[in-house]
């Protein structure tokens, strides 16, 4: 049957993309594990404490922890445990399981990252479209100028500027996270989300604008105009529907920048998310926590990119045909 062929083609392509996502996750875990292998830190030494060091006891501890087994075995174990949510225990303090640290840090990061990427996507699409429609006019050049600022002003420069405005001048927002919130939760999220969204929003604006300008030059737009399609329908349905594809791909990439931005933003506002915990762990040399944070942040990035690629053929029928 001729009609069933494209359908099987699309499922094959989707399956391949999913497989590629899994491979990426594996690569992420492998590199993280290998870097830990060549790093100078020694888990057995940390566990027994350097004071009561004897070669004999050291070998014993190493054996107990399974560190004397070959590397591939330990990697398989690391991946197996990680899949069950076990990332080992912290080197310091009460030797807290890493999963508990992650358990409280992950929601915090998601609470910042999800609104931020949504905000960036909406801002990018709206302002990019406006700029494209008003190409080379006032609105276009001001949007371009603003997006240049968004790309070039680092988020740790933007943060003190916003704090100066909203905390010291207007006095409407709290200056950093507190264990016992004294204001409604959203108040604490405004500045961090704005800062994390700034750069992705700027890149997505530029991309939407460029893509939309190209689309609006196409023949079918002229035809639609000639047929008398009302402007909003012309731009939203005929234009944006076609221009949106590269933008959706870029949302995935931007999400990566947004996630690394969480290191800065969480540290600045002292919000105990994954970025904050990772930096604290790096300063202490707490390898299991560092590894878990990096693997999970990388996994979030891969997940979002895989989802973005998976939904693409459903948005754009042209891809469905290409993949047959």
């Amino acid at each position: 049957m001729a009609s069933s062929r494209p359908k099987s083609g699309i499922w094959k392509a989707l399956g391949l993309r999913l497989f590629y996502g899994v491979i990426s996750l594996f690569f992420l875990a492998l590199v993280t594990f290998l870097i830990d292998e060549i790093a100078p830190g020694d888990a057995a030494l940390v566990k027994m404490g350097e004071k009561n060091f004897t070669q004999e006891r050291y070998e014993q501890v190493k054996h107990q922890m399974g560190l004397d087994r070959p590397m591939p075995v330990r990697f398989a174990e690391y991946v197996g445990n990680a899949l069950q949510g076990d990332f080992g225990e912290s080197y310091y303090g009460t030797r807290e399981p890493v999963s508990e640290i992650i358990g409280s840090a992950l929601p915090m990061t998601l609470m910042l990252a999800v609104p931020a990427i949504l905000l960036a996507a909406v801002t990018g699409l709206v302002f990019g479209t406006i700029a494209a429609i008003r190409e080379n006019r006032m609105a276009d050049s001001s949007i371009l100028a603003a997006s240049t600022l968004g790309v070039t002003v680092p988020n740790f420069v933007m943060a003190p500027i916003l704090v100066l405005i909203f905390v010291h001048w207007l006095d409407v927002l709290p200056s950093s996270w507190e264990v016992n919130l004294r204001a409604p939760l959203p108040f604490y999220l405004v500045m961090p989300v704005l800062i994390m969204a700034a750069r992705p929003a700027a890149t997505l604006t530029r991309l939407t604008r460029a893509s939309m300008i190209d689309t609006l030059k196409m023949e079918f737009i002229k035809l639609a105009k000639a047929k008398g399609v009302p402007p909003w329908r012309l731009y939203m349905v005929h234009g944006l529907r076609n221009a949106i594809l590269p933008v959706i791909t870029a949302i995935g990439t931007s999400f990566g920048f947004l996630l690394t931005g969480s290191f800065i933003v969480e540290s600045y506002f002292i919000m105990p998310g994954m970025g904050f915990e990772a930096i604290e762990a790096i300063k202490k040399g707490d390898a299991p926590v560092i590894m878990a944070c990096v693997v999970l942040i990388g996994a979030m990035f891969i997940l979002v990119n895989t989802i973005v690629d998976l939904i693409q053929p459903f948005i754009d029928p042209r891809i469905r045909e290409v993949q047959v």
């Binding site: 830190g41 680092p154 010291h168 990439t253 560092i290």
Partner: protein, 271 residues
């Protein structure tokens, strides 16, 4: 064909970057040492310290200039290494024999599993943060983007007449790369390197801001911003200057890069 003009921002950026490089590399000859205490704490600008002093009485201008020196040195070293690795892997991946090219391609693509500077943070986090580690960590993070660019450029060059002609005359792949491919890449690579250099400098400042980059007493714009925010209200100039210089540097490098790109690549639009 419409001829593109380099705008005001391109030239302003170039002038700024030249002045910055001048301060960075000639600064030690006419500025006090960055650890030297030249006056009272937080004093306003004077003849000996044109931008005033910091919380320890050290010259703010001297620290900015040394910060520029460190940022530019690290940035150039990282970009140099990234170019080296990226060109090698990019050329191998697109022109090498299949048994080399395929794994190289897969490896390059797999590196994109780490977004932005996440890999650098991991390497620095586990291995330690002296300047050398920072350079290697950032270079390892930066080369895949170069390799990918080289790959797309080589893909279009490969089918051009002069390459095909040379091939038909019996030129080896190595000869082709040296004689015909690389000379065509320099322009684009130079333009993109400007934008990449901005990204590297931003990455180094981010790490220093987080306290896992350049360590005190060595000044870095990132760490100056971090310590400056403690006196944000009482002494805003401590925060203002490093923020301004860093932002202008990144802004400038992006503009110069885009301008150069417009010259070397007639198809691309100045964004």
């Amino acid at each position: 064909m419409k001829k593109k003009k380099l705008g005001f921002f391109f030239w302003a950026s170039t002038v700024f970057l030249v002045i910055l490089a001048g301060f960075a590399f000639l600064g030690p000859y006419f500025l006090p040492e960055y650890t030297e205490i030249v006056g009272p704490k937080f004093s306003s600008p004077g003849p000996e310290y044109p931008l005033g002093t910091d919380e320890q009485g050290r010259s703010l201008l001297a620290r900015l200039a040394y910060g520029a020196r460190i940022s530019l040195t690290i940035g150039l070293a990282v970009q140099g290494l990234a170019l080296l690795g990226g060109i090698l892997m990019g050329v191998l991946g697109s022109l090498g024999p299949k048994w080399i090219a395929t794994p190289v391609l897969r490896f390059t693509d797999a590196m994109f599993a780490f977004p932005d500077i996440l890999l650098a943070i991991l390497i620095i986090g586990l291995i330690g943060f002296d300047p050398k580690a920072i350079v290697y960590a950032l270079a390892i993070t930066a080369w895949p983007a170069v390799a990918r660019l080289v790959r797309t450029q080589v893909a279009t060059l490969k089918d051009r007449e002069f390459v095909v002609a040379s091939q038909a005359l019996g030129a080896s792949t190595f000869y082709l790369v040296i004689k015909h491919i690389l000379p065509h890449l320099w322009g684009v690579l130079l333009a993109v390197s400007m934008v990449d250099l901005a990204a590297v400098i931003l990455a180094e400042s981010s790490l220093s801001f987080l306290g896992i980059g350049v360590q005190a007493p060595m000044p870095s714009w990132g760490s100056m911003i971090n310590s400056g925010r403690n006196q944000m209200v009482s002494h805003p100039e401590q925060l203002f200057w490093p923020c301004l210089v860093l932002s202008l540097t990144i802004f400038g490098l992006n503009f110069v890069g885009d301008g150069l790109r417009a010259i070397v690549d007639p198809k691309s639009d100045v964004r």
